[in-house]
């Protein structure tokens, strides 16, 4: 390639450092034998041990998992349908409805759903959170599926119809197998978004229900211990694994496909 401008390299490297050093500090201090996240004292797994005996934490993790699985399953189904519709028919209403939750600040969805659930006399809890998560995950899945469809050869669906397949069969035997990696990537992404969500969950969970992010939040506000570091590290590793798998299945995840203005 051409001459490498050192200035650009240095600035970019600084950018990467800026992105990663804070996270690395969290991870490193999770092994620190000290209550304070200040100086390195010694290596220990103690905080992880405390974590696994923390009933509140385990409950919160269980809730997050439950909500995550439910929300991602439903969001993947609805999101795949939406992605298909957006690719084939380019409908105005659907596109706006699907993409708006991603474009606006999360707090707006949180408070409007709070009012909505209360007016419906729906007790705030696991169900309300799951319903909320599905609403904002649909968009992400739809975008991934749509871009996967766009990369597919259009004539394959026509060939299937030509060979005698009804539109449903053409989708089932030809289109779906070919977009499956995208669908799975979308599902993994929805799961991750659900597990990680804080703002919307904060407003729709009500008093009695705790998810992992909410638990982390109260720990940060009330009593900070390196247990927070430990759970953060585990959560990061889980997310990392899921997203790497998802990006292998659908390289478009890395592009601008998931964002919009």
């Amino acid at each position: 390639m051409r001459r490498r401008p050192i200035g650009l390299w240095a600035a970019a490297l600084a950018g990467y450092a800026f992105l990663y050093v804070p996270l690395l500090i969290v991870i490193v201090y999770s092994f620190n034998d000290s209550r304070l996240n200040a100086e390195w004292v010694g290596f220990t797994f103690g905080w992880y041990d405390k974590l696994f005996h923390n009933q509140d934490m385990l409950l919160a993790a269980g809730n997050s998992l439950l909500i995550g699985l439910t929300a991602s399953a439903v969001a993947t189904l609805l999101g795949t349908m939406a992605g298909l519709a957006m690719y084939r028919y380019r409908p105005r209403l659907l596109s706006i409805l699907v993409l708006a939750p991603i474009a606006i600040p999360e707090i707006l969805m949180g408070v409007s759903l709070l009012i909505f659930f209360v007016l419906l006399n729906l007790t705030l809890g696991l169900v309300s959170v799951a319903l909320a998560h599905i609403a904002f995950c649909i968009g992400f899945v739809a975008i991934v599926v749509r871009s996967r469809l766009a990369g597919m050869d259009e004539s394959l669906t026509e060939a299937a119809r030509d060979c005698g397949a009804s539109p449903l069969n053409a989708f089932r035997y030809v289109t779906l197998p070919l977009i499956m990696p995208g669908v799975i990537a979308g599902a993994l992404m929805a799961f991750t978004l659900s597990i990680d969500d804080f703002v919307i969950t904060f407003f729709t969970a009500g008093a009695g229900t705790v998810t992992l992010p909410l638990q982390i939040y109260s720990m940060i506000k009330i009593a900070v211990t390196p247990e927070v570091n430990a759970v953060s590290t585990l959560l990061m590793l889980l997310t990392l694994a899921l997203i790497i798998v998802a990006s292998k299945l659908s390289p478009s995840l890395l592009g601008t496909d998931e964002e919009n203005a």
Binding site: V26, N37, V111, A135
Partner: protein
Amino acid sequence: MQARARLGRWLVSGPPVLYLLVFFAAPALIMVLASFRTPGDFGGLAPLVEDGRLDLNLDSYARFFTESVYAQIFVKSVWYALLTTLFCLLLAYPLAALIARSAKKHRDLLLLLVILPFWSNFLIRIYAWMIILGPNAALAKTVNGALGWLGHEPVPLLFSSFAVLVCLVYVHLPFMVLPLYANLEKHDRALLDAAQDLGAGAWQRFWRITFPLSLPGVYAGAALVFIPALGIFAIPDILGGPEDSLIGNVIKQQFLETRDWPFGSVLSIVLTVAALVLAGTAAWIGRGSLGTPSSAEVARA
């Protein structure tokens, strides 16, 4: 045959549309309605129909426009969002440029590295800065040591507007990198060669050619950063001092503590309008300028 096709279309787009109408559009409309209602005696909303009459008023709106503190907070939020966008742009540009110039086989990895932090939990990223800026941590000690040496009072890094800003930038940086990269990647290298051939130095080439061509990507990234940043509440909540409340914090407070839901709705609507206006402007600019396909795609989405 036409009828069958139309039925298929409704079957496929129907369920998602229905779900989102119920769980996204309806709540939004209800919130608009709520902004015209009266707060309930114990918080929340008073009944819609009182003594057979519809209880709707503009009280909450009047309060927003008369009590200036709220408008001030809103302006502060806009200011913080602007600063965040600017700093994100300054940091993201070199990153995006580097990735755009790299060999194709490295690009996927480099992009993945930029995106990964985004996928870590939002709170973790905020928490990380709590550690870094904490009074006992290395950074604070160094800075305050230096200040002390110069004869200044120690400055708390944490629970300050500095902390809020740093974290705002940190959290939103990937959103600026991606659109910029998408734009820069499509630039024709030959243009820069031609400029150099005609005598332009490195800065000139950047400022007169690269930067103008990258504007659609800049606008897209700015929209992706500015709009979410406007509504943030968790960062000031955790890292900020009492002076750093943003509009998001006030909204949270109104809904969960003060429980004046009509007023909270008014604030939310102001925020929504601002966000929509900005999103619309960004899309219009992005579509209008002779941009790269990526900007048109972003605008269309």
